[in-house]
Symmetry: C2
Subunit: 305 residues, 2 copies
Amino acid sequence: MAPIVCIGSMAFDSIETPFGKAGKVLGGSANYFSLAASYFTSVRCVSIVGEDYPKEHLELLQNRGVDISGVKLEQGKTFHWAGRYSYDMNTAHTLETCLNVLEKFEANVPAHFQDSEFVFLGNSTPALQMKLLSQIKRPKFIAIDTMNLWIENSRDALIEAISKCHALIINEAEVRQLTQVYNLVQAAKAVRSWGPQILVVKRGEYGAVLFDHGEPFSAPGLPLAEVKDPTGAGDSFAGGFMGYLASAGHYSLSRYELRKAVIYGCVMASHTVQDFGFAELVNVKKDQIQGRYDRFVDLTRFHVE
Amino acid sequence: MAPIVCIGSMAFDSIETPFGKAGKVLGGSANYFSLAASYFTSVRCVSIVGEDYPKEHLELLQNRGVDISGVKLEQGKTFHWAGRYSYDMNTAHTLETCLNVLEKFEANVPAHFQDSEFVFLGNSTPALQMKLLSQIKRPKFIAIDTMNLWIENSRDALIEAISKCHALIINEAEVRQLTQVYNLVQAAKAVRSWGPQILVVKRGEYGAVLFDHGEPFSAPGLPLAEVKDPTGAGDSFAGGFMGYLASAGHYSLSRYELRKAVIYGCVMASHTVQDFGFAELVNVKKDQIQGRYDRFVDLTRFHVE
């Protein structure tokens, strides 16, 4: 079992969906990733919070095996994001972004994090993602996420960052925007030509597709009777995916291990969307994760003699 | 192996996509359904064409085991549909609809079709669908498709028609519109409360979901490096689905047989979208169908010890 070092945001989120509203719940890519991955392995978190951030939550992370010595407490307010979803919850509409302390984020990695072999570069500027990576001595498996903002404003730097990674984990609309190619099979070829041999395309309620050296793998979304809030689903997916790989210490990634990791990603995302913020994700029991994995086995099984 | 009787349109389609244009290619739900199903079993077709419809095509259907004695040749022009797709090929935008001879369609079923046990009520008015069904003596498995037009104009008659069927095969956006429920799990409950115990939701490039008495089944779309024209994909899906079930004579539908039928539906749809009209579908070889079924097995496999 290898630890994972991750970089990302810790935030207050204000969310509106057709099914309700939540004001200033805890969120941010580092939180969703760390919580999801913490079910599988230990996590080393690099992030930044303001003085208004609740200490109890940092303690909760610690109690779950997340090392928060890379989370800087900075004067000022915590990053705040406000967004809205319509019935089609695959796309978030940003209402407001207040960077606050995130503008001072320097991504300094504590010395005892620097031997981490699994690295997750959560959504932030390509420069910060590269700064984190440069401090890791001998990374063996690096995955990166991004968003439309960096594709639009820093595409060259982003592709440079992606080129140093083993895996790109990204939304469907964003991989199309990034590669400027609509067809996913062809978009995957473009990404792989930059360096990463693994592309995971996240498709919201439709699940995810994995492209690697062989034939693609398609994982469905779990049909749920109630979906309350998709915020954090992508980072929870990444947490399940990386968490599973790191828990088994898989560097030489066999085909089916990668595929199982995608399913564990879908499992963690399916928990996250069932309530606002990470209210559901944080309360999941280990046997529920395995139970839901088994539901994916059943959900996709047809070739039975 | 049981024959299937189907009702639907035969048409000329004019299609625009970002990847090209095709003027007045042969199309219509009865054509796509019959061609796809003809790989699995014999098909009995009830439709109508005008004087401008090519005799060679009717002969081609005959040569493939499609009994066209229910296809009426009427004075006037064949039904014509013109539509456009943008990059998101999951939704067609209708540019023009000329019903032409379709307005005189009476759906009279030849006597020797009336013992058919498998019935496919392709997209047409609920009244015509019911008229066809009323002429079948002892149907054992009835599936129905529809479209937004009938949901908007004839919802009550449509639900009455659906209530007489074993399976509803329908697009994702349309099942939401029909049930007035966004969540698919809940929409499936509504449909099953009307009568049909089987709901198949077609999701374009994302595949299909099957709801029956047990846990749902999710089939992916096949990631293709080139998709030219999605017209007819839904009817080709229905042809593969019904064709497989009828070929095995499955009335008491076991869980995995229904699931395999969904995969054969996806297989036939994946062929159709690779060229304009049914240019590709009509040239598929039987071993290509099995080969593509095997690709679906691989595409979805992850639980390997």
